[in-house]
Amino acid sequence: MNPEFSPTRSDAMRAQLEEVVTVTSIQSNRRAPGWVPGAALLVAGLVTGGTVSAAAVTSLQPTSQPAPRSGPVEAPPGVLPGVPIISLLGETLSYEITGETALDLPAPPDGTTHLRATVTCLTAGPVSWGTDPEGNNPSLYCSGDDVLAGTGTAEMDFPLGAESQDLFAQTGPDGRALLVVQYVNYVPTALGRNASGETYGAAWEGLEPDLVAVMGVAPDGSSILGYARATDLNAFGPDWPGQPTSPEEALEWQREREERYPDGWEIPVYAPDGRTVLGTFFISN
């Protein structure tokens, strides 16, 4: 049996969609740099397991980082500027969870900034895990094949703060999962700076480099890691460097943009020097 659309949610969705048509009031939100944490996660390798829902993980990234215990250091070779250097602290702890569980964790060692929690499904079904007691945590869905092949696994680092020291997990009824917990230390790395004085690196939480790390497309069609200019990423469109200042202007710009660029547009991807073009990054309309 395939997953079925929840009738309750479908009815609510239909009603809301009809309301949207009625009031024609979809707002043109300011384009947020959504690719930035994605690129940073990709490089840092924080997410494993192909079955993790990208939507679930990216939409539930912790929204704040604890104050780092040390200042930014220069990114060593192989580390994208802006991406923290991560050290493991103490021992790994394993817990088997079933149903709704609040884990009783030992006190974190000195230097701990984050809690790394790796979940592995032991039965097919959903599992969520994280530091939000209300349950607004990342989730993973495992099929029977995932359980047999050992591919139903995912890893997340959660920042620890005064109000987020505990770990909560939930499986479906009768579901079981293994949770491996490790305290870690994050040392932030500084953004790079090129000869023109522009900063470059990953737009990790709170960082706003002039040149933002992205995965673009090289002329031969292959993926390439490079940097897009933040002003290009944040522009409303190729012909609008800024953002609209009123709802009327937003609607007008949006109409023009959809007419001129119905499928989206490309922006250049540069080397760290901000001059050498390596490829392009596509922004859908």
Binding site: A12, N29, T123, Y141
Partner: protein
Amino acid sequence: MEHDDQALWDRVLGGDERSFGVLFERHRDRVFRALLRSNPVTADAEDLTSVVFLELWRRRDSARFVNRSVLPWLLVTVANVSRNASRGRRRYERFLAALPAPEVEPDFAHTVDSRLDSRGATDALHSALGRLTEVDQALITLTALEGYGLADAADAVGVSYGAAKTRLSRVRRRLRDSHPNFSVAEAT
């Protein structure tokens, strides 16, 4: 079987919101199943289904109909929405927040796509598709996974038949080189 969506759509553009609801119910399941391929959490695929229909409304001036059906356009949008899932969610976060919370229910017979014989094959396919350009990804999805002919897929994506044929040929060659186990059928 394709539906005649054009007449309904004309009514939607005339302000008939109920016709939009009919379109939603008509294509909801195909869109949902296509989303499940890359968003295996049921509630996420449900949320993104609404994002696809919100995109249809937002981009109502440029939506393409193929043989009077909007389904190919919706399936192309599925690929774009999946690729930019986090952005889509942010764009419509108020809409999504107003939906009823998902029920957490185990679904032990979760089969994302019966045509792919294992999760591993699905992941490898996602990985291979993720490296294609947006247009190529849409073409291969429509022809190889959704069963459309090349002419319809080209129409839905907005490229000429010849360009679509060239692109697909290049994609097939690339997939064959990088993933020898995949067999991608020729579209007609």
